[in-house]
């Protein structure tokens, strides 16, 4: 157990250092970088929200695809031309549609996308509350039983009477009891079937 803990500790330490030291490889190539650091920083921020249209789920900032490079260059071209961040993004949306945005905007055709999950969560939560209440109500009614109705009472009395009238059946002797009375086990009796080696030998 101690050794296992030690292995775990080492693994945790190694993965922690890996997380800290390893940074994703930069897709932006040196010849793309703008001279103005402020403009370049804006370009990087915009690149992070734009989707590489051939990679499906990577931003153009992460992607090494040719088309991602073309799009990064276009972003920088727009910024150098004096566009604001929003204008630059709008420029890309005009060419590639909303698909180019990694974070879909809230608009009529995306209502289901944005509202759906919270709505589902709400429905599930409501159902859970209803189920819980139902369960509690049941438990409470079990804890405080209602007095029997006159008909139920009469039925119960009748059953008790009938049972009392029946002759008592003899009680079966317990297995332990019979073994104590007859430790060697009489041949052919049911106590011999309990898998005991001694009994099988006889």
């Amino acid at each position: 157990m101690k050794r296992l803990l030690a292995i775990f500790a080492i693994l945790a330490a190694v993965s922690a250092t890996a997380l800290v030291t390893v940074t994703p490889a930069l897709a932006v190539e040196p010849d793309e970088v703008l001279d103005d650091p402020a403009l370049e920083a804006r370009a990087r921020e915009i690149s992070k929200v734009l989707r590489c249209v051939v990679c499906q789920n990577q931003s153009i900032d992460d992607s090494h695809a040719d088309i991602a490079r073309d799009m990064r260059l276009l972003v920088r071209e727009r910024l150098v031309a004096g566009d604001t961040d929003d204008q630059t993004v709008a420029h890309m949306v005009a060419r590639y549609g909303d698909y180019v945005l990694l974070r879909p905007p809230f608009q009529p055709n995306t209502v289901a996308l944005w509202v759906g999950p919270p709505l589902m969560a709400f429905v599930v939560a409501t159902l859970a509350v209803l189920f819980f209440r139902m369960y509690q109500r049941e438990r409470q009614s079990n804890a405080n039983p209602q007095p029997l109705s006159p008909t139920d009472r009469a039925q119960l009395d009748e059953l008790v009477e009938r049972l009392a009238a029946e002759p008592r059946r003899p009680r079966r002797r317990s297995k332990l009891r019979s073994e104590l009375d007859d430790p060697l086990g009489s041949a052919g009796s049911d106590t011999g079937d309990n898998g005991d080696g001694d009994n099988r030998a006889t």
Partner: protein, 181 residues
């Protein structure tokens, strides 16, 4: 009330499975969720000026060249194998009188000239786009890609991927007819 509460999860799950089943079956009929609908559809063709590849290849065209009649714009490259596969069909469309403009995507002058010499040049004009800059204006996501532009210069259809005989019959020809109405 109680009965409904117990049945509801099953009903919701059945609906979910049903929706997913329909979407899955649609992929068999050619629905490809990875294809991006073009943002250009219904808008005018981009006003990009493309230079010619070389002196002996008819070429260079601008957005204004795509007005006045139904045209097709095809994005191709010499290094693109599916482009070669669709080339005979494009050649046939051009021979039937359809003006087909080409965007030569991320290519070099010698490679593009050689390719056109070997496989024939059916294009009305070839625009040279060595850095993919103009392709971005067109919203190109890969090669080959084909656009249909009506007489008003509005993009009415986009097909990503090679034009096969089936695509030609089921999509391109009906769309060309629609565009010319």
């Amino acid at each position: 009330m109680r009965r409904i509460l117990l049945i509801l999860p099953v009903v919701l799950f059945t609906i979910l499975i049903g929706v997913l089943a329909v979407l899955t079956l649609q992929t068999q009929d050619g629905r490809d969720p990875s294809l991006i609908p073009s943002a250009l559809l219904g808008k005018s063709a981009p006003e990009v000026n493309l230079p010619a590849v070389d002196g002996d290849i008819p070429g260079g065209f601008a957005g204004t060249d795509l007005r006045g009649r139904v045209t097709m714009v095809n994005v191709f490259a010499s290094w693109c194998v599916p482009c070669l596969a669709e080339h005979p069909l494009i050649t046939r469309l051009a021979a039937d009188g359809l003006p087909v403009y080409a965007i030569n995507h991320r290519d070099t002058v010698p490679e593009a000239s050689k390719w056109l010499k070997i496989h024939g040049n059916p294009f009305t004009a070839v625009g040279f786009d060595p850095d993919g800059r103009a392709s971005v204006e067109w919203g190109v996501t890969g090669v080959p890609e084909t656009y249909i532009i009506n007489a008003e210069g509005i993009v009415t259809f986009k097909h990503a991927g090679p034009i096969t005989a089936k695509v030609l019959k089921d999509k391109i020809l009906p769309e060309l007819r629609k565009a010319s109405e």
